[in-house]
């Protein structure tokens, strides 16, 4: 297993965010991390990336316990694409991608660092705009530059924290296709925090679902998506169907547009939908 998370717990002060989370992602597998807002997705991603150090439990990459690795060593095996934030200072795409080489060089980048940057730029289709400054780019292009930065980092695990949330449909799909292709080609493990259940089902080999900091489902989308589980997690009554070779999740909405539901409401919504 390329990425293995065992009994991971994490708390901000006294507030428990993650509780006993255990799952594994194989090499070459693309795993979706699902769950409502506040369920601990970002925290889990950051704990694996070494942004936060977990209180208990362990994380291993290709059998090596990450707690035993130094910061730079960890940064050479785990790459992280944060939610797109604003940069106070401008820099070009090429300079931005070079930041991903930070754990690999000393004072100045060497030839192999430049080569890795050019390779990542090419793979993300950014060659044409490599000398443009980030602030001139569209949201989709900026997101691709951030992914290129993580690619240049050349790690065995790639973590993405809701990279698609700010993108339009086309860029969402492009991003997911790209990450899937990279995981297959490089044999790395990718974990993506994402909101869209159907995108996750379509592009990911595995989904894990967090609810209140606990893992409530883990497996291939067609097995992990259970109506009962999703209803509990999202507090929305849903219908899971097969469609085009992938499972599809649709909220059941009644005539009044009510989706938030308890047990009783679920029945009326079901009736109304038929």
């Amino acid at each position: 297993m390329s990425l293995s998370v065992q009994h991971l717990s994490f708390a901000y002060g006294t507030r428990q965010i993650l509780e006993d989370v255990t799952f594994e992602v194989a090499s070459g597998a693309f795993c979706a991390l699902l769950g409502p807002n506040g369920s601990g997705k970002s925290t889990l991603v950051k704990a694996i990336a070494g942004v936060h150090r977990a209180r208990s439990g362990s994380i291993a990459v290709e059998g090596r316990d990450t707690a035993a690795l130094g910061r730079r060593e960890l940064a050479r095996v785990v790459g992280y694409v944060p939610q797109a934030g604003d940069a106070p200072f401008d820099l070009t795409v090429r300079e931005a991608v070079m930041l991903g080489r930070t754990p690999h060089f000393g004072f100045a980048p060497r030839a192999e660092d430049h080569a890795a940057v050019e390779d990542a730029i090419q793979r993300m289709g950014l060659s044409e705009i490599a000398e443009r400054s980030l602030s001139e780019l569209s949201g989709g292009q900026q997101q691709r530059a951030l992914i290129a930065r993580a690619l240049a980092q050349n790690t065995r695990v790639l973590l993405l924290d809701e990279p698609t949330s700010a993108l339009d449909l086309r860029y969402q799909i492009e991003t997911l296709q790209l990450v899937r292709r990279i995981t297959r080609e490089e044999g790395i493990s990718a974990l993506i925090a994402i909101h869209d259940l159907n995108h996750a089902a379509r592009y990911c080999d595995q989904v894990v679902v967090l609810h209140g900091g606990r893992l409530v489902a883990d497996g291939a989308p067609q097995h992990a998506y259970e109506e009962a589980t999703l209803r509990t997690v999202y507090e929305v009554d849903v219908e899971v169907t097969g469609h085009d070779g992938a499972v599809e999740v649709r909220p059941r909405i009644d005539a009044a547009g009510v989706t938030r539901t308890g047990g009783e409401l679920a029945d009326t919504a079901e009736v109304a939908a038929r």
């Binding site: 785990v78 934030g85 930041l99 430049h114 080569a115 602030s135």
Partner: protein, 364 residues
């Protein structure tokens, strides 16, 4: 195009040399070399600017004599002492003070991820002013040695910086906390200084106000040694962390951590260094605003945002800015000398407005 790509690649499996990166590197080196040359020339020329008829030849001769030794003819003696005892310390203090403030500004802006902060954002300058004012008031009518006010200013500036950083560390070094603490300190110490001024007599009041005008008027070699020495120690030290500074400034704390950068200690360490630089300059020269804000921006426009190049170039741009401002201050209403702190605001202000209006995207 092929010419720039010809540089031999050192890594074995390295792909063909990335031409645009190499070209950019060549440009960066050219800008740095140009900046150093310009600075040296400006230093030479600015020694000649002023009252007595001194030429560049005299300056070169005087520098040569003072470095390699040699005899001074009787007719050159007075020129020699004007150059080495009055002019050189003055221009070198202006240059090194500007360089130190500008480097300090780069550090503060990068570490706080905010292009609008300056070395004085944490309240260093009002604290130093209060320290100096306190010493001047306590001394009353007795004559003070120069080091007493300097020491008063520096102790107060460093104490306040330590206080601000200490509180901010307890609050996890949040950027907003630091900025707000800086505003609070500024208000408190301005009020304290005002209170001293309110109760002071005519002479003391004048001395306090004169101190706050940043100037290099009474520069002596020991000032240059200390300010220049601190700047010379600080610059290589900051360059050592330039890569980490890039990660923090451009990618943010979380991403920087994911690149293996130890964000917390680096931020505290480098902010302490930046504040110490500013405190030293303020103590020796008084309050010279603006250089620490504008110097970094001028450098960023000339050479780009990469801190490996930005830090040394900001030292040059800040040094040059103060050097030019002082030369203007000496000539504009000669023989009277306008304090450099006043001139630099007059020069720097319009330059800054021009930069904001013409290159909006670098400041966003």
């Amino acid at each position: 195009m092929t010419a720039t790509a010809q540089r031999p690649a050192t890594g074995e499996k390295a792909a063909p040399a990335p031409t645009p990166a190499r070209r950019r590197e060549a440009r960066t080196v050219a800008v740095l070399v140009g900046g150093v040359t310009l600075s040296l020339l400006a230093l030479l020329v600015s020694v000649t600017v002023g009252t007595a008829g001194i030429g560049i030849g005299d300056v070169v001769r005087a520098v040569k004599v003072s470095i390699v030794g040699g005899t001074i003819s009787a007719d050159f003696a007075s020129t020699y002492s004007v150059i080495t005892q009055l002019r050189l310390p003055r221009v070198l203090l202006a240059f090194t003070a500007g360089a130190a403030l500008s480097v300090s500004g780069v550090l503060m802006q990068g570490l706080l991820r905010n292009p609008l902060v300056s070395p004085f954002t944490l309240g260093v300058s009002p604290a130093a002013a209060f320290g100096a004012a306190l010493v001047i008031t306590l001394a009353g009518s007795s004559q003070l040695p120069a080091w007493a006010t300097i020491a008063g200013a520096m102790v107060m500036a460093l104490a306040v910086s330590a206080l601000v950083l200490g509180i901010a560390t307890a609050r996890r070094m949040a950027v907003a906390t630091l900025l707000l603490l800086g505003i609070a300190m500024t208000q408190i110490f301005e009020a304290l200084t005002s209170a001293l001024q309110f109760t002071a007599n005519e002479n003391t009041l004048q001395a306090i106000i004169r101190w706050t005008f940043g100037s290099v008027n009474d520069a002596v070699w020991s000032d240059v040694h200390i300010v220049g020495g601190v700047a010379l120690i600080a610059l290589p030290l900051t360059l050592f962390f330039a890569k980490d500074l890039n990660a923090i400034a451009f990618a943010g704390d979380d991403a920087a951590r994911s690149f293996g950068v130890n964000v917390g200690p680096i931020r505290i360490g480098l902010i302490s260094l930046a504040v110490a630089l500013a405190a030293v300059v303020v103590s020796f020269c008084g309050i010279i605003g603006f250089v620490g804000l504008v110097g970094p921006h001028i450098a960023r426009l000339a050479i780009g945002g990469d801190h490996r190049h930005l830090l040394p170039f900001a030292a040059l741009s800040g040094g040059l800015l103060l050097l030019v401002a002082d030369a203007v201050g000496r000539t504009v209403i000669a023989p009277a000398v306008v304090p450099v702190g006043i001139v630099v605001a007059f020069i720097g202000g319009p330059v800054f407005v021009y930069l904001i209006l013409t290159r909006r995207n670098t400041l966003k």
